[in-house]
């Protein structure tokens, strides 16, 4: 029963024109950056641009990571918050939630199906961004000799074989997906609370903006390790030599806690809520 429900939700996701427009918009930013870099051959000054952006002028195969660093702080979480925020609140606003629950599907199963669909959106978006960035990186960026022959240079200056680079890139993409699962869990909770999808998305974004702001504030040092966005960019540590697992592990655990707590709260709220819409 849950499988059928998931298939329905996935089918809705893939057939929705909005899904592909959103993905295209997210993909447009790193694409624009790649074109500008290729045109001007001008990297960011050290310490100013997103991670890996200066390195792609030497090695184009690193552009998927730069693209990830470009979309992860803002574009991707906004898209995930909007998509997940609409999951329950959108059905309620359209008046279809009541009819969905008339069928013997169970509210928990519906919630799981919605979560799976949101995560499918995340996976699809991250992969599209990564593949586009790789193609652009190899075709437009980097020194051709370095890009073609390798090895790549780690953040610590040592060499990384192609297999190592691919493995670490896979880990970084998986880590980014987990971070977005956290956003999805928060948005899904708000979606069970708010009457409108916009309210759910804005609630989620308020948490993320507050978190991002507090990270820059020295006075908030004591709470920073618990902020949801604190370890998002820790995927850079996967490219140090040796890999620095400290923040990556903390990030995984912290995202896990947020996912468990907000999914739990969303489940408790949704399964006890009076649905009239």
């Amino acid at each position: 029963m849950t499988g059928a429900l998931i298939r329905v939700e996935l089918s809705k996701l893939v057939r929705s024109r909005r899904t592909w427009v959103t993905i295209a918009l997210i993909d447009a930013l790193p694409t624009l950056v790649a074109l500008l870099l290729a045109w001007t051959d001008l990297g960011p000054r050290p310490g100013t641009g997103p991670a890996f952006l200066s390195a792609v002028l030497t090695d184009g195969t690193l552009f998927p990571l730069a693209a990830l660093a470009i979309v992860l702080p803002l574009f991707l979480p906004i898209a995930v918050a909007i998509t997940a925020g609409e999951a329950i609140a959108g059905e309620a606003q359209q008046g279809t939630l009541r009819y969905l629950l008339v069928r013997p599907v169970g509210r928990t199963r519906l919630l799981v199906a919605k979560l799976v669909a949101v995560m499918a959106f995340v996976v699809l978006t991250v992969l599209v961004v990564a593949v586009t960035a790789y193609v652009l990186g190899v075709l437009l960026l980097g020194n051709e000799t370095v890009t073609a022959t390798g090895p790549a240079t780690s953040v610590s200056g040592s060499s990384m074989s192609t297999a190592e680079l691919l493995g670490r890139t896979g880990l970084a993409l998986g880590y980014a997906m987990l971070c977005m699962l956290c956003v999805a869990a928060i948005a899904l909770f708000f979606s069970t609370v708010a009457d409108s999808p916009l309210g759910a998305a804005l609630g989620t974004l308020a948490i993320l903006v507050a978190s991002t702001l507090l990270i820059t504030l020295d006075a908030a040092n004591a709470v920073q390790p618990y902020l949801p966005t604190r370890y998002w960019l820790a995927f850079v540590d996967l490219f140090r030599d040796p890999i620095l697992w400290r923040d990556v592990v903390r990030g995984v655990v912290l995202q896990g806690v947020y996912v468990v707590v907000f999914l739990g709260a969303g489940w408790a709220n949704f399964t006890t809520k009076d649905v009239t819409d």
Partner: protein, 380 residues
Amino acid sequence: MGDPPLCSVFEVTPFRRWCVVALGTLLLIGVPIGLRALPAAESDVSASALLERVRASQDAGWSGYVETEGTLQLPDADQFSDVGALFGEGTVLRAWWRDADHWRVDQLLLTGERDLIHDGGRTTAWDYERAEATVSRDPDIRLPRSADLVPPELARRFLDGVGDGDVSRLDARRVAGVSAPGLRIVPSSELSSIDHVDLWADPDTGVPLRVEVYAGSGKPAFTSTFEEFDGARPPAADVDFTATPSSDVEYDDVLDIADAANQYAPVRPPRTVAGLAKSESSDRAVGVYGEGLTQVIAIPLRDREADALRDQLAVTPGVERTDGTEDGPGRTLVTVGPLGVVLTGTEGEGGWLLAGTLNRDGLVRAADDVVRGFRYVGRG
């Protein structure tokens, strides 16, 4: 009569659902906070024994993850901007230390890494964002760099000349998961601007794990602490560096402005300033005076470097400017926490830059002594 079905015994009511969520949340948040709050095991080691143990650890190998926090807002002058960042901001370091001649300290940045790899008398500085490795010899005199800020190195410098009478025990503290006995060092010299330095050391190896520098009784002006620590000597491979084909490798004869001045400035500073003796290692143009918690460096600057720095000092809060008189030379003086900076002379004259942990009066005395006591030598 059978048992009632489980679902009727554990009926999932809305209240119970929320209780499960609340309990789970409390556990997830409370357990790590509780573990962090575990008190440190106290140690009965005496202050002098701990001082001896810390001193004996200087040849120990170790590795770890270090965070430093500086509150010293130094003037942002070009040639000294890296030093200002080290003492005025937070720095995250990862270090592998085999011995004093073989180590690697990585400064971790969100966008990359700036590493120092030391091999014998040679240091390679790696900058990821510039894809550049710069090799230089180890000069006699140089400005502070990231590797000087790891707790063992910081403690080593502060403990020079410290005797048993200058130290007392502090309660143990958990640092990097270790119950570390503490030591307070109070400078014996009245010239020092440092009120005291607190350090906590690994009870097994004696390696300092946390160092706090105080200018007064408030919060520390500078802190360096291990967040993760391994007391085993790291393998040689961890402190090795081989540049990749896509990296630029350059060789630098001059490391920084202090090294340049020391090599090429045709002057020699006096043997003593403010009653502090010049160190044996400073036998050329730059003088390093005093030791431990009472130290000052005197660097001769050419007019264009001195003017730029003087302009920056002039806009620093609390600056004290004095024109030259018969009683003493002109100077621009700034004190930032325990760090005092004075630049002698006026615009277009060049000048001597003195920086160190001397109080205001000590710094003025030292500046006057340098200006009166330096001599010109032929270029050699």
